[in-house]
Each structure stands twice: as structure tokens, then as C-alpha cells.
């Protein structure tokens, strides 16, 4: 079986977009690809990473550094020996990468923080932004729609087309909404859509 690589999938996405955008060139599409992935990932939180750290007594500020990607949101912070759905450590992120606990623990406490990520500059040597393969596979049509939407709305280009741009913009926005739902339901068909009223939650949720 031939395994998909990020480059192969991104090449397919770019080629798909080129078919819809007569006269467009690969460099321009690759440039816009970064913006499309950034919009998709920043608004949906579908790419996240759990980062372990050790909460220290009297220390409330921590630097959080993901392996790759750029931090968008703090999602959860919780004790490492527990589950984020059961116990949460109240915290905020005044700036991406700066974790601030509401209260410092009284003793050393191993903890984990979950942050959502988006694409990072610089791109790879092939000119593509780095992004998990599963996102490219799962959302390749969304990314293509985003590319066509952004490119078609450019002024005075051979591929400029307001109607196509608006149409694909709607498809892109709808797909972003669906991706957000996918994330909230953990990609599970028929998962609980009803949510416990947030003001009665026993802990903070973002």
C-alpha cells in the first residue's frame, strides 16, 4: 500500500486548486496555503498538543513550547495524575506560550497543558507549511475550498472571479464550522450534542 505523505497530499491540494484557478502559479498558491491552514487551524483547534510540565510552589508563570507549530489557544491544564475532564487547574494564557496559573501549588505538581496549534513560518524546503498528515487527509477539500476562495477574490488576476470566490468562501466557512464540531465531538458520530449548562459546571471550561 502506498502511504500518503504530507508533501503528496499538499501537492494534490495545490493541483486541485490550480484546476479551479486558470493562470495561477504554484508559488502563489503555496503562499496562500499558509493563510488557509492558519485560518482553519486557528478557528477550529483541531490540532493540539499535550505538553507536560512541573508546577512549582510559588511559581505561577511558565513557558510552554510545542514540538512544532505555533500556539493559538490554551485548552486545558490539569494534574498529570488525573484527567482533564475530572480535575482542571485554573489557568490562562495572556500571550501564546505564556501559561499563567491562577494559584501556585503548595508542593511540586506534575501537570499537563493542552494547547491548540497552527502552522508556523518558515515553511518546509518544498515550500509547504508543516501540518499533521491526518488533518491534510481529513480536510483536503476544505483546504482546497479555502485556496480557491482566497485566490478567486484577489483583484485583477487571470483567475479573479467574485462569484466563485463567494461560493467557495461559503463552503470553506461551513467546513470550518463542521471541523469545529468534529473537534468538539472528538470525531465521533452521534456523540452527545447536548452540553451541561456551563454556569453549573463544577470547573472552568474554555
Amino acid at each position: 500500500m502506498v502511504e500518503s505523505t504530507p508533501k503528496a497530499i499538499l501537492t494534490r491540494i495545490v493541483n486541485n486548486a490550480k484546476i479551479h484557478l486558470p493562470g495561477s502559479i504554484e508559488d502563489g498558491i503555496q503562499y496562500e496555503l499558509y493563510n488557509v491552514l492558519d485560518e482553519l487551524l486557528s478557528e477550529t483547534d483541531i490540532w493540539y498538543e499535550d505538553i507536560p510540565f512541573e508546577a512549582q510552589p510559588d511559581v505561577v508563570d511558565y513557558d510552554v513550547v510545542p514540538i512544532t507549530g505555533r500556539i493559538v489557544h490554551l485548552i486545558y491544564c490539569w494534574p498529570a495524575d488525573s484527567d482533564y475532564r475530572v480535575h482542571e487547574i485554573p489557568a490562562v494564557m495572556p500571550q501564546p506560550g505564556w501559561l499563567q496559573l491562577y494559584r501556585a501549588p503548595s508542593e511540586i505538581q506534575p501537570a499537563q497543558v493542552r494547547v491548540s496549534l497552527t502552522v508556523l513560518d518558515p515553511v518546509t524546503r518544498a515550500g509547504f507549511p508543516q501540518c499533521p498528515t491526518w488533518i491534510l487527509e481529513r480536510y483536503h477539500q476544505t483546504i482546497t475550498s479555502g485556496l480557491v476562495y482566497k485566490m478567486a477574490l484577489m483583484p485583477n488576476k487571470p483567475w479573479s472571479n467574485g462569484e466563485i470566490g463567494v461560493l467557495y468562501g461559503q463552503k470553506f466557512r461551513n467546513s470550518i464550522g463542521q471541523a469545529k464540531v468534529d473537534y468538539l465531538h472528538a470525531h465521533t458520530r452521534g456523540a452527545q450534542r447536548w452540553r451541561f449548562p456551563q454556569q453549573f459546571m463544577p470547573m472552568l471550561r474554555r
Binding site: 486558470p22 493562470g23 502559479i25 508559488d27 502563489g28 503562499y31 485583477n156 488576476k157 487571470p158 483567475w159
Partner: protein, 113 residues
């Protein structure tokens, strides 16, 4: 033949200018100047064609140096070269041809023609 190098552009421009016999009516330097101006105009209209460059690439001499522009837009640059060369002449026919070539250049750069 394909348009790849500076020499290719000058050769194809001479065909459209009907300037194939030595001594040439249009000097190589004039045509190369037209090529570079065409690239500058292309840069102004289509920044995406030159994303890897901080400024417009320039080709000062007649050589087998590759002109780095997407194949889909080489013909447009050639048309600019020819139109720009014909602007020099003061005849009604060349004025019309110059205008047609320059208009075609702009159209190819900005519309799906």
C-alpha cells in the same frame, strides 16, 4: 522553439518585429532593455510571479541565461518586448502594432485570455 533564455526572447522578438537580417533594425541592447522593462511591468501587475525575489530579476546581457518566469506568462513578456521596441518607430502601422502588443501583455497578465 520554447521561450526559456534571454537569447530565445530576443530571437522570437525579432521574428515578430520582422527584423531577421543583419544589420538589425533593433539592437540587442534595445530588445534586452525591453525584456527587463517587461519583467518590471509584470512584477508590478503580478507580484506572485516573483515571490522568491526581493526585487525584479534583471538580465543585462544577451546570453543563454534562463529568464525565471512561469511558462504561462513568457509569451506576455515577449509581447511587451515587441510592443516596447515598436514604440520607437513613428509610423502609423507600428503605433497600432505597439499598442496591440502592449494591450495584449496587460490582458494576459490580468485576465483569463
Amino acid at each position: 522553439m520554447a521561450l526559456v533564455t534571454v537569447e530565445d526572447y530576443v530571437r522570437e522578438a525579432r521574428i515578430l518585429l520582422q527584423d531577421l537580417l543583419v544589420p538589425y533594425r533593433y539592437a540587442d541592447t534595445e530588445l534586452i532593455s525591453g525584456l527587463n522593462m517587461g519583467l518590471e511591468q509584470a512584477h508590478k501587475l503580478r507580484r506572485d510571479l516573483f515571490l522568491k525575489y526581493a526585487t525584479t530579476p534583471e538580465y543585462p546581457v544577451l546570453a543563454a541565461t534562463e529568464v525565471d518566469i512561469d511558462p504561462g506568462y513568457r509569451r506576455a513578456v515577449l509581447f511587451f518586448m515587441v510592443g516596447h521596441a515598436q514604440l520607437r518607430d513613428e509610423e502609423e502601422t507600428t503605433d497600432a502594432r505597439a499598442s496591440a502588443f502592449l494591450t495584449s501583455f496587460a490582458a494576459q497578465m490580468t485576465t483569463a485570455v
